[in-house]
C-alpha cells in the first residue's frame, strides 16, 4: 500500500524496477503454492498405491454393503451402490437442515420479538433462553437431547401411547402414516387453485384500495380459499386419505411413520441452538430502526399494527437478512455434527462409512466439501435474491 502511495512520486525508472520485483515475487509465490499441492498429491498417490488403494471415482458404482438407518429413497445394503449411499446421506442432510431452518426461524423470530417485549417476565425469559443456549457448545446440546432426553424414554414395552395411535419410546417416535388415495390429487389441485385465488384477491384488493381508498380485510377470505376450499373438495371426494396406524408387536413396531431419535435429537438441537442466534439478529434488526420512525408514523395517526407492517418491518428486514443468511449456512454446516449421535447424514454415511470401506479419502473428502460448498452457495444466492426484494433502495 505504502509502495503504491509513494510510487507516483518516485522516478519512472525506479518505479519500473520495483514493479518487476513485485511481479517476480508474485510468480515465485504461485510456483511455491503449486509445488506444494503437486508434492502433496504425489505423496498421497504413492502412499495409496503402497496401501493398495484404488484411485479415481470407480468406487461410485460398487456395491455398498452397509446399512443406513434412515433412507428417503430406496436403499438396501446388498443391492445399492456407494453412489446411492451418497444420495441417501445428502438427502438426510438436506432434510434435517431444511426442517431445522424453518423451525429455528419461527422460534428465533418469536424469541427475538419476545425479548423486546415491555412485559418484564416475557423479555427476561427470552433473554435467559438466548444466554443459556448460545453459551453452551452445540455438540454438547446434541448429546444432551440424544442421551439425556430421548434415550432415557421408556423401552418398547413401556411405550408412551399418544392420541391417534402414535407411540413414543427410546427407539423413536411412531406416528400414523398418511396414505393418499389417487383421488387425493383433487385436494392438491383445489389447494393450488385456492392459493392462486387468494393471490389474485390480494392484487384485486390492492388495486381497489388505490382506486377507492377502501381497505379490505383479507384474513377471512384468504383462510376460506386456502383451507376451506381444499377441505370441501376433500369431503366431496370421499375423504381420499387414510392413515397407516403403527402396530406394536412384541419386538418391534411395524407400519406408521417412524421418526428416529437421532433425527429428532439433531433437529431439536440445531433448531433450538440456531434460534438463539436468530433471536439476536431479529432483535438487533428491530432495534436498528430508530424510535423516531415509529413516532413519526404514530404522529401521522397510523395504528401500531400498520406502523409495524409499513414502517418498522421493511426497515428491520434489510438489517436482518444478511446475518440471517449466515445463520442458515452455519446451521447446514453444523448438521454434520450428526456423526456424534449416528444420524446418517452426508458426513456420517459418505465421509464416514464409504470412506472407511473404500479408503479413498481424497476423492470422498473432495466430493463432500464440494457438496457443502454448493449447498452454501445456493443458500446464499437464494437469500441474496430475497434480500434484494426487501432491500431499501434509498438512492
Amino acid at each position: 500500500m505504502a509502495d503504491i502511495a509513494r510510487s507516483s512520486a518516485a522516478r519512472p525508472s525506479r518505479r519500473h524496477a520495483r514493479n518487476i520485483g513485485n511481479l517476480a515475487l508474485q510468480v515465485a509465490l504461485v510456483a511455491i503454492v503449486l509445488g506444494l499441492i503437486a508434492a502433496a498429491a504425489h505423496n498421497a498417490a504413492v502412499n495409496m498405491a503402497k496401501a493398495n488403494i484404488a484411485h479415481g471415482f470407480g468406487f461410485w458404482n460398487n456395491t455398498a454393503g452397509f446399512d443406513i438407518s434412515q433412507a428417503l429413497v430406496g436403499y438396501s445394503a446388498s443391492a445399492s451402490t456407494f453412489g446411492r449411499a451418497f444420495w441417501v446421506g445428502l438427502l438426510n442432510t438436506l432434510l434435517v437442515s431444511a426442517v431445522a431452518i424453518v423451525l429455528s426461524t419461527a422460534l428465533g423470530f418469536i424469541i427475538g420479538i419476545a425479548r423486546l417485549s415491555h412485559n418484564w417476565l416475557v423479555s427476561r425469559l427470552a433473554g435467559g433462553y438466548v444466554e443459556l443456549i448460545r453459551n453452551i457448545p452445540l455438540l454438547l446440546q446434541i448429546l444432551f437431547w440424544y442421551n439425556a432426553v430421548l434415550k432415557s424414554l421408556p423401552e418398547l414395552k413401556g411405550s408412551v401411547t399418544l392420541p391417534f395411535g402414535g407411540f413414543l419410546n427410546n427407539r423413536g417416535l411412531f406416528l400414523p402414516k398418511p396414505v393418499f388415495a389417487p383421488d387425493f390429487s383433487a385436494v392438491v389441485i383445489a389447494l393450488a387453485i385456492g392459493v392462486a385465488c387468494a393471490l389474485a384477491l390480494r392484487i384485486w384488493a390492492r388495486r381497489r384500495q388505490e382506486r377507492t381508498g377502501e381497505q379490505v380485510y383479507l384474513l377471512g377470505p384468504t383462510l376460506a380459499l386456502i383451507v376451506g376450499l381444499p377441505f370441501i373438495v376433500f369431503l366431496v371426494a370421499g375423504k381420499p386419505l387414510t392413515f397407516g396406524i403403527p402396530d406394536m408387536g412384541r419386538f418391534n413396531i411395524r407400519g406408521g411413520l417412524e421418526i428416529l431419535p437421532e433425527f429428532a435429537a439433531l433437529l431439536i438441537a440445531l433448531s433450538v441452538y440456531t434460534a438463539a442466534f436468530i433471536a439476536e439478529v431479529v432483535r438487533a434488526g428491530v432495534l436498528a430502526v430508530p424510535a423516531g420512525q415509529t413516532e413519526a408514523a404514530q404522529a401521522l395517526g397510523l395504528r401500531s399494527t400498520t406502523t409495524l407492517r409499513l414502517v418498522v418491518v421493511p426497515q428491520a428486514m434489510r438489517m436482518i437478512v444478511p446475518p440471517l443468511t449466515s445463520q442458515y449456512l452455519n446451521l447446514t454446516k453444523n448438521s454434520s455434527l450428526a456423526v456424534a449421535i449416528g444420524y446418517p447424514d452426508l458426513v456420517q454415511v459418505f465421509a464416514g462409512s464409504v470412506l472407511n470401506i473404500t479408503g479413498q479419502a481424497v476423492e470422498v473428502i473432495a466430493i463432500t466439501m464440494a457438496v457443502y460448498l454448493s449447498i452454501s452457495l445456493v443458500t446464499s444466492l437464494l437469500m441474496s435474491l430475497y434480500g434484494r426484494m426487501v432491500a431499501v433502495v434509498e438512492r
Binding site: Q209, G213, G292, Q293, A297, A299, G301, V393
Partner: protein, 258 residues
C-alpha cells in the same frame, strides 16, 4: 405561574379553544418534568415556546399528540379528550401534525410515498387523490421536483420541508414543531423558517418549540418561556422581548440574543 388563557387583547384569538391543558403533571421516574401546566391555545393561535434544555418544552409538545403519557391533569385537543383509549388518541393524531427535530422521514419510501402513506392508510384516500394532495403540498414547500427521490438524497433543509409537507397532507388543524431548525446547517434554517412563516399566514394553529427569536417576533401571537417544567412567562412578543417579567427569562434572552 402565569395562566395562559387570559389575554383577550390578541385580535386573532377567537373564542374557540384548539388545545386545552389543565393541571398537567408528568414524571420521568423521579424527575418531575412537567409541573402544573395550564395552557389554553386559541384556534389559529401561534405560540413559540422557548427555554433552556431540559425545561420540558419538547415533552409538553409531545403530550399534545400523546407521544408521551402523563400522570395527572387533562389535555383536550379540538374537543377530543386524550385518555388511554387508542381511538381517541388516533382521532387526535389525525388532527394534529408534527414536525420533528431530526425530520424522521421514512428512508425506505420516496418523498411522494412519505407524503401519501398516512392519507392512504389513515384517511383511506384513493392513491391518485393522495398523490394529488401530496404534490399540492410539495409545491407549497417548493420541492415538487424531488417527489420521486428517496429522502437520503435530499439536503437537511429539503428533508425538513418534506416533513412539513407530509404533516400537511393530513390536513391538520394544529401543527406541532419540535425544534424544527436546530438540526439544520445555518444556511438551511431560512428556507424552513420561510415555509413556516407561509403556513402561519394560513391561520393554522401552531405550537413551535424553537430558539429562533426572529421567527417568534415575526409570527408568534404569544411567546412562552419554560424552565424546570413550569411555564414561567407567556406574553405577546413585543412585551415579552421588551419587558421580560421574570429574572430567568431576562437571563435566557441575554444568552441567546448575545
Amino acid at each position: 405561574m402565569v395562566q395562559g388563557s387570559t389575554d383577550a387583547a390578541d385580535e386573532k384569538a377567537r373564542p374557540e379553544v384548539a388545545v386545552e391543558i389543565a393541571g398537567l403533571n408528568k414524571w420521568f421516574g423521579e424527575f418531575h418534568v412537567l409541573r402544573d401546566i395550564n395552557l389554553n391555545v386559541a384556534r389559529g393561535e401561534r405560540i413559540v415556546i422557548c427555554g433552556p434544555s431540559g425545561s420540558g418544552k419538547s415533552t409538553l409538545l409531545r403530550c399534545i399528540n400523546h407521544l408521551e403519557d402523563w400522570q395527572t391533569g387533562r389535555i383536550v385537543v379540538d374537543g377530543i379528550e386524550l385518555n388511554d383509549d387508542p381511538r381517541q388518541i388516533v382521532a387526535v393524531r389525525r388532527d394534529v401534525g408534527m414536525v420533528f427535530q431530526h425530520f424522521n422521514l421514512f428512508p425506505h419510501l420516496t418523498v411522494l410515498e412519505n407524503c401519501t402513506l398516512a392519507p392512504i392508510w389513515v384517511r383511506q384516500m384513493p392513491k391518485r387523490d393522495a398523490e394529488a394532495v401530496a404534490m399540492k403540498y410539495l409545491e407549497r414547500v417548493r420541492i415538487p421536483e424531488q417527489a420521486e427521490k428517496y429522502p437520503a438524497r435530499l439536503s437537511g433543509g429539503q428533508q425538513q420541508r418534506v416533513a412539513i409537507a407530509r404533516a400537511l397532507c393530513m390536513n391538520p388543524n394544529i401543527m406541532l414543531f419540535d425544534e424544527p431548525t436546530s438540526a439544520l446547517d445555518p444556511e438551511m434554517v431560512k428556507e424552513v423558517l420561510d415555509t413556516m412563516v407561509g403556513l402561519a399566514s394560513d391561520g393554522i394553529t401552531m405550537l413551535v418549540v424553537s430558539h429562533e427569536m426572529g421567527f417568534a417576533r415575526q409570527v408568534a401571537d404569544r411567546v412562552m418561556f419554560m424552565a424546570d417544567g413550569q411555564i414561567l412567562e407567556i406574553n405577546e412578543p413585543k412585551a415579552f422581548f421588551a419587558h421580560p417579567q421574570h429574572e430567568r427569562t431576562r437571563l435566557f434572552l441575554q444568552q441567546i440574543l448575545h
